[in-house]
């Protein structure tokens, strides 16, 4: 028999019916489907079953897990409690210790919470998206920690940050969601958390499956088998901070040499041997630079407009840069003129939106860095003290403003 005839025979046409009862049956079926989806959504994200899930430390996708942590912190903030947020790339992510700053706040009797929403590798648009995602908290303070690379001419509009947090309400710049597909996806994401956090849910399920497979007899036995004693290397801070993929042979030795001597030539040798990193630095340096027309700058403006409009204090902090990179030898990888232009622009934008600008570029000495912008332990200690002073001084301004507002309201009555 012809396969088509066979198919037709095995799938007889359904009898057509336009009775109102049939319509009710169909509508009720799909109402039940929608109800189930809503219930799952409420159970996972309102009741909080999903947020209670603790991902193991060796999770497969650390980047998404960082974002997951941010989503969870934003979702669990007590309503009405004062919140201060910091956004930015790795310079913020590494330097602002949430726990340490909150302890300091408590010791001074300052209420509320501090959230570090910094994400490794994020650009200014990504920071704008994070700041928008936190706007439901109605923060009294928004700190944006800037670095030159946040304004690099080359960026990825469909970043993981945008994939999770961007939605149509986040009007954060012209380069995000230009495609209809992305706009539609963002529209659904705004109202349907199960879709917005689908990557997290998948990650959690995969982790659970991994956990189950580990309980299989063969694997469990392997896990119980006595392991040969292993000489654990004494890890230093740079080794812990340094991406493992670059901790290989000659490249890493050169980097260690640079770390000890602060001789840029050794850093350059390291970059050359590390291959990929070198290309990234060179590429960014070589690309045309037009800050005034930059979509990253547009995103920063939108972010300030949003939060200043809601009455928040906004602080722009230009994070420290390693002075060694101002050496002419380093000009292939770093352009001091671009840095100065960004600083002047940030100062101008802060002035325009009534924000505060702090230039920390020369805050640290070469011994406080382990690369161009990332601080080592010594540098992080200095930055930690800076963060605490900043939050304390901004809180004082906030209280003064609040009391003078209350006083003028009382006078008016």
């Amino acid at each position: 028999m012809d396969p088509l005839e066979a198919t037709a025979a095995s799938h007889p046409p359904t009898a057509r019916s336009s009775e109102p009862a049939a319509l009710r049956r169909v509508v009720w079926f799909w109402v039940k489907v929608v109800l189930c989806l809503v219930l799952i959504d409420v159970a996972l994200f309102d009741v909080g079953w999903f947020w209670r899930y603790e991902p193991p430390a060796d999770s497969r996708d650390k980047y998404f897990l960082d974002l997951w942590g941010i989503a969870r912190r934003l979702g669990s903030h007590p309503e009405g409690a004062p919140a201060a947020i910091a956004v930015g790339s790795s310079v913020v992510h590494m330097s602002a210790s949430e726990k340490g700053i909150q302890l300091d706040m408590r010791s001074r009797g300052q209420p509320g919470s501090f959230y570090n929403l910094g994400v490794d590798g994020i650009d200014a648009t990504g920071s704008g998206i994070m700041a928008h995602a936190a706007s439901d908290l109605d923060p009294w303070l928004v700190v944006y920690g800037a670095a030159l690379r946040d304004f690099a001419p080359e960026k990825d509009a469909t970043s993981a940050v945008a994939a999770v947090f961007a939605e149509p309400g986040a009007d954060i710049g012209p380069q995000a969601r230009v495609k209809l597909e992305e706009r539609l996806s963002a529209g659904v994401k705004r109202y349907w958390r199960l879709y917005r956090y689908r990557k997290f849910v998948r990650e959690a399920l995969l982790q659970e499956i991994d956990g189950l497979s580990a309980s299989f007899p063969a694997r469990a036995e392997a896990a119980r088998a006595p392991m040969a004693p292993m000489a654990l290397p004494r890890t230093t801070h740079p080794q812990r901070r340094f991406p493992a993929k670059f901790q290989k042979g000659e490249a890493f030795r050169e980097w260690q040499g640079w770390y000890e001597t602060r001789d840029f030539a050794r850093y350059e040798t390291y970059l050359r041997k590390a291959g990929k990193t070198l290309k990234v630095y060179k590429k960014q340096r070589a690309l045309p630079w037009d800050l005034a027309a930059s979509s990253e700058l547009a995103s920063l403006r939108r972010m300030m407009e949003l939060h200043r409009g809601r009455g928040a204090q906004v602080v722009l902090v230009y994070f420290p840069e390693n002075p060694v990179f101002r050496d002419p030898v380093a000009s292939t990888y770093f352009d001091p003129a671009r840095s100065d232009e960004l600083a002047a622009t940030l100062a101008g934008e802060a002035d325009r939106y009534g924000a505060r600008f702090i230039d920390l570029r020369r805050f640290l000495s070469p011994e406080d860095f382990y690369d161009m912008v990332h601080a080592n332990n010594a540098g992080l200690r200095k930055l930690d003290a800076f963060w605490k002073r900043l939050i304390a001084s901004e809180w004082q301004i906030h209280e003064r403003t609040a009391s003078s507002n209350a006083k003028s309201a009382g006078d008016a009555q």
Binding site: P3, T7, H11, R16, V26, E181
Partner: protein
Amino acid sequence: MTLNSWSYGLLLAVALFASWLVPGWAGTWVLLALSIVFYAWGTPSDLLVLAPLLLAVHAIARRVQPGQPHARRWLGFGVTLLVGSLVYYKYLGLLAEGVVGGAHLLGFDLPLAAPRLQAPLGISFFVFLLIHYLVEVGRGSVQPVGLRDESLFVLFFPTVVSGPLKRIEAFEPQLRAPGRPIPDDLHEGLSRIVIGLAKKMVVADQLAPLCARVFAKPDRYEWVELWLASYGYALQIYFDFSGYSDIAIGSARLLGFRVPENFDYPYFRTNIAQFWRHWHMTLTGWILQYVYIPLGGNRRGEIRSNWNRFAAMALCGLWHGSAFHFAVWGMYHGVLLNLYHAYTRLRARLRPSQPQGSAHPAVRFASGLLTFHAVVVGWVLFAVDLDEALPILGRMLLLT
């Protein structure tokens, strides 16, 4: 625009609303307009290939009807034009590679380099649909249709990219009086779309990176893991393609159209002939009707029918992609089909009293398992280039 994208969902919603708002002949025009939007989305220039072919087939169709002067010549011209377009856009580079490679084996170095052209979206599907239409008109089984209906037959947006291959005699009557969607259509259509999305996104898309990782660097994996990846690929390709088909069938149903089924539990079949009767059924039907039977089918002796099966399956393989490993995959299935037919003939001779399909359940189960593994081995040829597939197969079968 893929069938599992939000923009497709929006287009489908607009089409559904339009079919409710403007039923009847006007609705058909709206559906055609939306189908053109879908087809032109992203690469509008593809229309520059499709539109002339539609016009040419429309003009030729009236001349191929039985009784028309030179009808057979016109039919030959039309089919040659369509096959030529497919070869030009999809297989020219492969042909050139074949010629250069063949000449190199004979000791000649030909300075021949055919450009790799960007094939228009869905060219394999619309060329097959148009050939079917012309041949059926030539046979007198259907009358030529108007340009609008011919265009919609080809461009109907749920099926234009990945089928199922429709049949004009079943599709055209549905265009005559499309009504408003009714609850049954909405229910069946939506259910099918949800099932299709789940197959594609929950199963196929999750399996894909796992299998790709193994096939990208097979040397790093043991033979057991290569088998696991092959099983995974077998499931991935089934759930991917049948998921797409479900979305297409469901979308068509949502708009009140019936299009043929494409898959019917192919991995549960107990022999390779059964597998092909239930895997990508509309393509199998097309190959059967327009390649295998015209070649002589099984009417010209055993050797010829074996060759016909082999050639039809090689073409079927090549239809899936412009690379030699697809052709080899098709040939492999041609060999399996011939082996199976040789076995059935032998069995009929040895046990003439035993009717087909009356085997013990354990034997049927074993046959199903054997068939599935034969298909899985074939998927390795489909998944990667030949020079990578052979070492993988060697290790899977413990030959190396």
